[in-house]
Symmetry: C2
Subunit: 342 residues, 2 copies
């Protein structure tokens, strides 16, 4: 293996369509300069043909984390395909890990095994949401139901580095989610966080509101995990609801069905733009290692896109950028709260 | 005026299209057994013809609250059309008030002048959100960026009474917005609130998530004003974004335009179902008096619907139900926290 080859640990057993979706996905990734460590049940994996151009090895485990396993059963999960894949990152053998498996167990194990980067108190779940003018990375989407000012400041650092790596540009606009854009609006948490972000982020944008998430006019939107989770699910629920209502309205009229068929080629372009498989891959940011969560019902195309996204991030200096900025931010933070003391 | 005639105070000068939209709206309401106190600038109101079947009187004031007036200027706002309309409710002359004006000033004045109902600590902004199986009343949508357990318990009482009055049924399902439906999910605020709601609401539904808002499978969703505001705006933003994207996708193809025209009659039924004018009217619930906020850019149809909604609520026992339940809830609340003390 060449020295610059990236090593990605793959949990072959996680998700509704595993192991088929995961195994099939790898054949779509032969163009990556990448070695795959594939964790799963040897007996079930041998049924699949891997492309001969692929650099990979299978690491056997019979233990699989079930979708309904609670975080109280973490001990047994360590020997599972998710746990061993994370171990490979922990030991330095792999640079990143991708799984479609049980989110709670995956994130809890990742946090315990990889630990947060120095200067970052809590990791956050981030994903890219497509919008009118572009995509926006939003975090935290539910890893932390309760957040402090320091947590939100950390999330801003994480989001900035993530967007910088993924979008390949320097002037990353980071915004804080609030109930209004004026300085006096909001709760203590966002008002205090805003004061610090103004100092530490050269491109701090200010407050944005819920309807700005789909505008895509900023690169990063930072919020606590409670609000972020509710907002993301509200967006998904609304999109699903509208599409269903339109379909059912059209279905009741023969002329409308004909019309819809005529509009279909134009709309299918739109549909493919919003295909969740193309946007697959949430990052559990802030850990010592790149941890990517693929959607639980990902098919081969979806999983392949999550791996491709992971590979692209590995080819950036994201973790180093987080390390540097987290330390700088911590100094600012201490200085700020030091100044405010009597 | 008959003894059972309802009196509604109308701010004729609030909103982008005032006073025309407000004055024109009244002619759409001649079927209501209602007397209107219309507050505004006599000189500007005399240009409009009011339907002769209408029972109304104009109360003159030249003072108008501008859209950008801050809540720091409340003193001068008291003599404005909004302030005087609220005074009429405060004095008992009117039973309810409707305005499309400056939300911040309106709500702040209403809170000061009408005060909260005994047992309710803070009022909340509530509105009806259309969904798949029905509509759901959501609150708080932004009146309180910071909430306590007691506040959320109060909002549940308010939402239950509001849905009971508006939907005319007894078994009102009240849910709490959270990041998951399991009991251990969420922050301390929702977990503690859930414990109390289980005791005081016979039809307490449990936790729902962001994607449940558009399902309409519960009657009331309770949340803090920060999360509620973000979620509502996220829903509005997503709906707007999808409609715009579909329009722009169709626009680029002649065949698709033709198809869209054919589907138009079927879709326009859907459009009218979602017409925001039909759902106009947010309630500032929990005050001694019925305070309704109409959307800032309401036209005559929108404003008329907000007044009609107000009239229907007046013909229910909503305020009495809130009073009764608030007192009962407070006893439970004290008992609960009493029991928990060592």
């Amino acid at each position: 293996m060449a020295n610059d080859t990236r090593v990605i640990a793959i949990d072959a057993m996680g998700g509704d369509l595993a192991p088929a979706a995961v195994c099939d996905s790898l054949s779509l990734l032969t163009d990556l300069k990448c070695h795959f460590l594939v964790f799963g049940d040897q007996k079930r994996l041998q049924d699949f043909r891997f492309d001969s151009r692929l650099s990979y090895e299978i690491r056997h485990t019979e233990i699989v984390v079930s979708p309904d396993m609670g975080v109280s059963e973490l001990r047994s999960a360590r020997k599972s395909s998710i746990g061993l894949a994370l171990s490979a990152v922990q030991s330095g053998e792999a640079h990143a890990v991708v799984s479609s498996g049980n989110t709670g167990v995956y994130l809890a194990l990742a946090k315990i095994m990889l630990k947060t980067i120095d200067g970052i108190d809590r990791p956050a779940l981030a994903t890219k949401i497509p919008g009118r003018e572009g995509s926006t990375f939003c975090l935290d989407l539910g890893a932390n139901a309760e957040c402090t000012v320091k947590n939100l400041v950390d999330f801003a650092i994480l989001g900035e580095a993530l967007a910088h790596a993924a979008l390949g540009k320097d002037d990353i606009k980071v915004a804080l989610l609030n109930v209004g854009t004026e300085e006096m609006k909001g709760n203590v948490l966002v008002k205090e966080t805003a004061k610090i972000l103004k100092r530490i982020l050269p491109n701090y944008y200010g407050f944005v509101e819920g309807n700005d998430i789909c505008k895509g006019n900023v690169d990063v939107i930072v919020t606590d995990g409670f609000t972020g989770n509710v907002a993301l699910k509200a967006i998904e629920g609304t999109a699903k609801f509208i599409v269903e209502e339109v379909k059912s309205a059209v279905k009741n009229s023969a002329v409308a069905i004909m019309g819809a068929l005529m509009a279909k080629p134009a709309l299918s372009k739109l549909k493919s733009r919003f295909d969740p498989r193309l946007h697959n891959g949430a990052i559990f940011a802030g850990l010592n290692g790149l941890v990517v969560k693929s959607h639980g019902n990902s098919d081969a195309i979806g999983f392949a896109n999550a791996v491709r996204f992971t590979y692209d991030l590995l080819n950036s200096n994201m973790l180093e950028r987080i390390r540097e900025n987290a330390l700088k931010s911590q100094q600012h933070y201490q200085q700020f709260y030091g100044e405010m003391m009597p």
